[in-house]
Amino acid sequence: MIRVMLGDTVEIRMKNDKNSKESHNIDFHAITGPGGGASLLNSEPGQESGGRFKMIIPGVFMYHCATASPSIPEHVSNGMYGTIVVEPAGGLKPVDREYQITQSEFYTKEGGKGETLEFSYENGLDERPSHVVYNGHATALVKNPLKAKAGETVRIFFTNVGPNFVDSFQILEKPFDRVYIEGSLTAPPAENVKVTKVPTGGAVMVEFKVDKAGNYTFVDPVGNRKDLGAMGLLKVE
């Protein structure tokens, strides 16, 4: 995650490892200009590119690769994404804990245990993911839960990479106190929200106070997504 302030100039240097097979670039949703910077930030294997960009809009934004060869969704499906937060001048109000969660889908061909599964463009087109995960692994936030102490306020920057699904973000044990809908940090937040929908290629900021100790569970409650990995834990002591 990249964190900057409104009015900052961000200088990005984009290297592509010399062992890469593909050319790569980045489209920052926080950048105003062609391709969100992708037109300047394309790098062939072993090469480097760069650009200088002024942040004129606050918010929580996704960034991702948008190289058309072999296809943009293939680059996004395979892991080329992150989050950039452009804070309002003076920064966000302090809270006790901050975390970033990215939900994304992986589209692979079927295979046996222990195998390296190949990307499936067909399953991508059919919107039939093999994995829907938080932070890059089916059990990333189950094996290593987020942590907080009772009485603390937790802020989560939640990004929905897609590449296909509109996500529903929820904690089973309590509503979010504040939800900054679609990642807008200038509009007043919605309050006491049980489930919030996050558009694909979008983000949301949520805040909530955890009063009691115990395990809190994040899920995307839609269909079988939590069985495919869209689940995480917050351990409150």
């Binding site: 200088e11 240097r13 489209d27 949703h29 926080a30 950048i31 105003t32 200009g33 062609p34 391709g35 969100g36 910077g37 992708a38 037109s39 300047l40 590119s49 760069g50 650009g51 200088r52 960009f53 002024k54 004129i56 809009i57 606050p58 918010g59 934004f61 996704m62 948008a66 296809s71 943009i72 969704p73 996004v76 991508g124 087109l125 059919d126 919107e127 897609g162 590449p163 296909n164 699904f165 509109v166 809908i181 679609e182 990642g183 807008s184 940090l185 200038t186 509009a187 929908k197 558009p199 694909t200 290629g201 979008g202 983000a203």
Partner: protein
């Protein structure tokens, strides 16, 4: 009671009074409402903005027909549409207007066709015509907002009507109209479900694919490359306003313009609430429409997409070409 609530109530009261006074005057026969012919243009064109403050009677002439046309460079499909267009032309009226729809069904149609304007008024507003016949519907545009009008769910319902092109947007503006902007565009995302076939085939509708939510095409303005071959145009410094609809029926759209932020978004086209600001991607539900605006800061080609990116491979994208001087303090290579 909080001050802001009272203020809003007063504000709402004032607006109602502004709307209702002329309506009452017209109903009482004190003023004769002007009769206007609706401007009905092919998307992405938008009818001229409303500047009047008095309600009028707006006459809307719509004709349903069936024709075989290109859905992509590879395939044809039998469209069922309005005035020879998919999506149907955008209709622009003001709250308080009386809308008179003259609905014809072309004589060589095989199907009976209907349109439902119920979202833009109170109560049912359905008009149906058999092939070669004409029907009339009159309704009052009681609610401001941006709505989808479409082939309806009235029995016997066949979703093939809706999925073959029978949908468009109706904008019910507040009294006096929306704040002027330099450019306005009309974009409609819609899904097409067809049996598989070869290049140059006319592909038949597939109900199985509808049920499986397995869209063959997901397009902006009725053709896979409608807005790629003929991009939208604007200039640096101009504000563009987009009336963005989602005909559905299966996929919520995450509307995003690559390289630009939506400065203002009225979710679900609801102009009675303040807009969301500084939005990268906004959710447009099936059967919903959204109003988004942004000022073009940089020249170049900007891609409007459903950010569910695999759908762009099926046509869910369009281009906006912004001309004008570059701004190196904003965007510059190293």
């Amino acid at each position: 009671m909080p001050k802001s609530f009272l203020h809003n109530m007063r504000h709402a009261g004032l607006i109602s009074a502004l709307v209702m006074a002329p309506c009452l005057a017209i109903n009482a026969g004190l003023v004769s409402a002007e009769t206007i012919q609706a401007q009905l243009l092919k998307a992405p064109n938008v009818p001229a903005p409303i500047t009047r403050t008095q309600p009028a009677t707006v006459v809307v002439n719509l004709e349903a027909s069936e024709w075989v046309g290109l859905i992509s460079d590879d395939n044809r499909y039998e469209f069922w549409g309005i005035n020879g267009m998919v999506p149907a032309p955008m209709i622009r009226v003001m709250v308080g207007d009386t809308v008179e729809v003259n609905f014809k069904n072309k004589k060589d149609s095989k199907e009976s066709h209907n349109l439902d304007f119920g979202k833009a008024t109170d109560g049912a507003a359905l008009v149906t015509a058999e092939p070669g016949k004409e029907a009339k519907l009159s309704f009052k545009a009681t609610k401001q907002g941006l709505f989808v009008y479409q082939s309806s769910t009235a029995a016997p319902f066949n979703i093939q009507h809706l999925l073959s092109g029978m949908y468009g947007l109706i904008l019910v503006e507040p009294v006096g109209g929306l704040k002027p902007v330099e450019k306005e565009f009309y974009v409609m995302q819609s899904e097409f479900y067809m049996k598989d076939g070869k290049k140059n085939d006319t592909l038949p509708f597939s109900m199985d694919k509808v049920k499986a939510a397995d869209a063959s095409y997901i397009v902006h303005n009725g053709h896979m490359t409608a807005l790629v071959k003929v991009p939208l145009r604007s200039r640096v410094g101009e504000t563009t306003r987009w009336f963005y609809g989602n005909a559905g029926v299966n996929f919520e759209s995450s509307w995003h313009v690559i390289g630009e932020m939506l400065d203002r978004v009225w979710p679900a086209g609801d102009m009675s609430k303040p807009p969301l600001e500084s939005i990268q991607s906004t959710l447009v539900g099936t059967g919903e429409a959204t109003i988004g605006e942004f000022k073009g800061e940089m020249p170049g080609t900007f891609v409007s997409v459903d950010h569910s990116l695999f759908r762009t491979e099926k046509g869910a994208l369009g281009l906006l070409k912004i001309d004008g001087p570059t701004n190196p303090s904003l965007f510059k290579g190293l």
